[in-house]
C-alpha cells in the first residue's frame, strides 16, 4: 500500500501541476479519439457506399491473349508487330459447377451468377442505353442488398419483371406497373413489367442498370445457358485480395477484388490513414513528453522528501514504483477523460455536419474497444514517460537530497 498511498499524496500535494498535466493528457487523448472516430467512420462509410453496389470479388472469363507461335532459332532476331486481340464477347459455360467451386473457397460468404450486357430501353420512340443485369434475385441480394435502395414497388423478379433505376424511370416517365420494351444487339426485343424502382446511390447507375431474371438476360443477350460473371461476397471485405487469388486458382477464371477495381479509392484511404496515424503518433509523443517533464520537476521539488524516505529505509525500487505509478495514473485518468471528450466532440460533429436532408454526413465509429485500447496505450505511455524521472528519483543520494 506504500506505493499507491505515497504516489497519490505527492500528486495531491502538487495539485496545480497535477491538474495541468491531466488537462494536457486529456486534450491529447481527445484529439486521438476524435480523429480515430471521424476517420474510421468516414472510411467505413465510403467503403460501405462504394461496396453497396459492388461485389467484393468478381470472377470473369479469362481474357484471350496472343500466344507466340514462332520459335526463334538460336542467334537470330525476330522483328514482329503484335496486335492485341479483340476480346470476343466471352462467357462462362458450365457455371453452376464453377460457382459451387467458388463457394468452397474459405472466406467466401455468398456467390451469385450474373448475365450482363448492353441493350436499349425503348419507350414512346425514345431509346435509352442500359445495362441488362440478369440475376437470380435471392443470390444477388446476398451480394448487393436491395431493401435500402427500394423506392417504389416490390423486390420481385418473376418471369417478365424488371426493376429499373429511379433516374431511368424519370427520364422515360415510367412508374411501377408500366411496361417497357428492351432490345439488344442480337435483335431480340421483349416487353417487361416494372416491378420496382431502385435508387443505386449513384445517378449513373440509377440511369443505366436494369435488373431482370437471369433466364431473360441470357436469352436476350444470346448467351444461351452461359453467364458473364460470378459475384462473391467475402466474410471479411479486407481479405478480398487473397480471396480473389484463391478463387481464381480454384475456378480457372480471372478474379478482380474490389481493391483492384477501386484502386484510386484504396490509395486515397491508405494516405488518409497514414496521415491520421502520423498525427496520432506525434500527439502521443507530446503527451509523453508532457508527463515526463512534469515528473522530472516533481522529483526535483520532492527530493528532500525522497531523501527522508530513503534515510528511513525505503528501498530505491519502492521509490521508483511511486513515480512509475504516477505516470500510469496520469495516463489512465487522462485517457478516460480524453476518451469522453473526444467521443463527445465526434458525436457533436455528426450533429453539425449534415446532408441537405438533415441526415448525418456519415456515422462516426465510437466503439468500446477504442476506449479500452486508448486506455491501455495511454497508461503504457505514462509508465514509459515516467521511466527516466523514476530512475532518477530512485538513485537520489539521500545525503545530497536532504541537504539540498
Amino acid at each position: 500500500m506504500f506505493v499507491p498511498t505515497v504516489a497519490w499524496r505527492l500528486m495531491r500535494e502538487g495539485r496545480f501541476q497535477s491538474w495541468l498535466i491531466l488537462a494536457g493528457v486529456t486534450l491529447g487523448v481527445a484529439v486521438v479519439v476524435y480523429i480515430t472516430a471521424i476517420v474510421s467512420g468516414l472510411q467505413a462509410n465510403i467503403i460501405d457506399k462504394t461496396l453497396s453496389t459492388q461485389a467484393h470479388v468478381t470472377l470473369k472469363p479469362r481474357e484471350d491473349v496472343n500466344l507466340r507461335q514462332i520459335t526463334v532459332p538460336e542467334g537470330e532476331t525476330l522483328l514482329a508487330e503484335v496486335e492485341t486481340r479483340t476480346q470476343r464477347e466471352n462467357t462462362i459455360g458450365n457455371w453452376q459447377r464453377l460457382k459451387a467451386a467458388a463457394d468452397t473457397v474459405p472466406g467466401v460468404a455468398a456467390s451469385a451468377a450474373l448475365a450482363s450486357g448492353p441493350g436499349f430501353v425503348v419507350k414512346g420512340g425514345v431509346r435509352k442505353s442500359v445495362v441488362l443485369m440478369g440475376v437470380e434475385l435471392a443470390d444477388y441480394q446476398r451480394i448487393v442488398p436491395l431493401e435500402s435502395k427500394l423506392r417504389a414497388g416490390r423486390l420481385r423478379l418473376a418471369s417478365g419483371d424488371v426493376m429499373i433505376g429511379t433516374e431511368l424511370a424519370r427520364d422515360l416517365g415510367l412508374k411501377v406497373g408500366d411496361r417497357l420494351r428492351v432490345v439488344t444487339a442480337t435483335g431480340s426485343a421483349e416487353s417487361y413489367t416494372i416491378a420496382a424502382l431502385l435508387d443505386f446511390g449513384l445517378k449513373d447507375l440509377s440511369r443505366r442498370w436494369l435488373l431482370m431474371p437471369l433466364r431473360s438476360a441470357q436469352n436476350q443477350l444470346g448467351y444461351r445457358l452461359d453467364i458473364s460473371e460470378i459475384y462473391l461476397r467475402a466474410d471479411d471485405l479486407f481479405d478480398a485480395e487473397a480471396l480473389a487469388a484463391a478463387a481464381a486458382a480454384r475456378t480457372g477464371l480471372d478474379a478482380d477484388s474490389w481493391q483492384e477495381t477501386n484502386s484510386q479509392l484504396v490509395t486515397a484511404l491508405r494516405s488518409q490513414s497514414a496521415s491520421s496515424n502520423m498525427i496520432k503518433v506525434f500527439v502521443t509523443l507530446a503527451v509523453a513528453l508532457g508527463i515526463a517533464s512534469v515528473l522530472v520537476v516533481s522529483v526535483v521539488q520532492k527530493q528532500r522528501e525522497i531523501g527522508i524516505l530513503r534515510a528511513m529505509g525505503t528501498p530505491g525500487a519502492r521509490i521508483r514504483a511511486v513515480f512509475l505509478l504516477q505516470g500510469a495514473l496520469y495516463g489512465l485518468a487522462g485517457s478516460l477523460l480524453g476518451s469522453a471528450l473526444g467521443a463527445a466532440l465526434a458525436l457533436g460533429f455528426t450533429r453539425i455536419a449534415r446532408n441537405t436532408d438533415g441526415s448525418p454526413l456519415f456515422p462516426v465509429v465510437v466503439t468500446p474497444s477504442l476506449f479500452v485500447v486508448t486506455a491501455l496505450i495511454a497508461t503504457a505511455v505514462g509508465v514509459l514517460a515516467a521511466w527516466a524521472p523514476a530512475r532518477r528519483a530512485a538513485r537520489l543520494d539521500p545525503v545530497e537530497a536532504i541537504r539540498g
Binding site: T5, R12, I308, L309, A311, M312, G313, P315
Partner: protein, 226 residues
Amino acid sequence: MADVLTLTGIRKRYGGGKAPLIEVLHGIDLSLAEGEFAALTGPSGSGKSTLLNIMGLLEPPSEGRLVIAGEAAHDLGDDARTRLRNRYLGFIFQFHHLLPAFTALENVLMPVFAGHGRVDAADRTRAAALLERVGLAEHAYKQPVQLSGGQQQRVAIVRALMARPRLVLADEPTGNLDTQTAADVFALMREINREDGTTFLIVTHDARLADSCGRQVRLVDGSLKN
C-alpha cells in the same frame, strides 16, 4: 554491555581523479554501548556530518570497519544498507523534515510503512501511544504545517522511535528551536533513553546541552579528541 555500534579506523576521502583528494576523517575509532546517551560536538567543518552519515549508513566509508548490532556494514551495497537502516536506526534531523503530505500520525508510522510497505493495527496503536507519550494525542490527525516548531520536533522524535531502533542519530535536533523548547525536547530524548534504554548519539553545538549528556565525543579536524 554490548556495543550497538563499533567504528574501527574509519577514513573518508572525497574527490580523486581530476579533483584534489581531500580526507575528511582520519581514522576514527569509536564504540557506542547499548543504552548510552552521547553527544558529538566539534566546530563547523570538523567532519561531524560526514561521521554521522557514515554511522547512519547513508554513505560508505573509504576505509575502515563499521559493525552495527553485530553486522558488518562498511562494504555493503545500497539495498543492504537501506535494509539495515530500516531495522536498526532512527533519524532525527535539524529541520525535523516531516513529510508535509502526511498527518502527524502517518509521519510517525512512516518508518514501518517505508520498510515493510504496509502497516497493521498494532503499528497504528503503537504510533498513537508514542504521540500520546509526547503529549500530542489530539494533534495526531493534523498536518505538519498546523503544528508549532516544538510539536513538529516531538513528532520527529517519536517517528525515529517507531521502528524500535537500536540507535537513534540526531543531527542538531534543537538547532532551530528557542532555548526553552530546546531544553524540553532534549529532556524528552533523555527520558526516552532512561526509560527504554534506546541508545542516542546527538550532534549539538550547545555546550550546556552537551554537558548534560552521559558522554561527550569531540571531533576536531577529522580526528577524535578526548
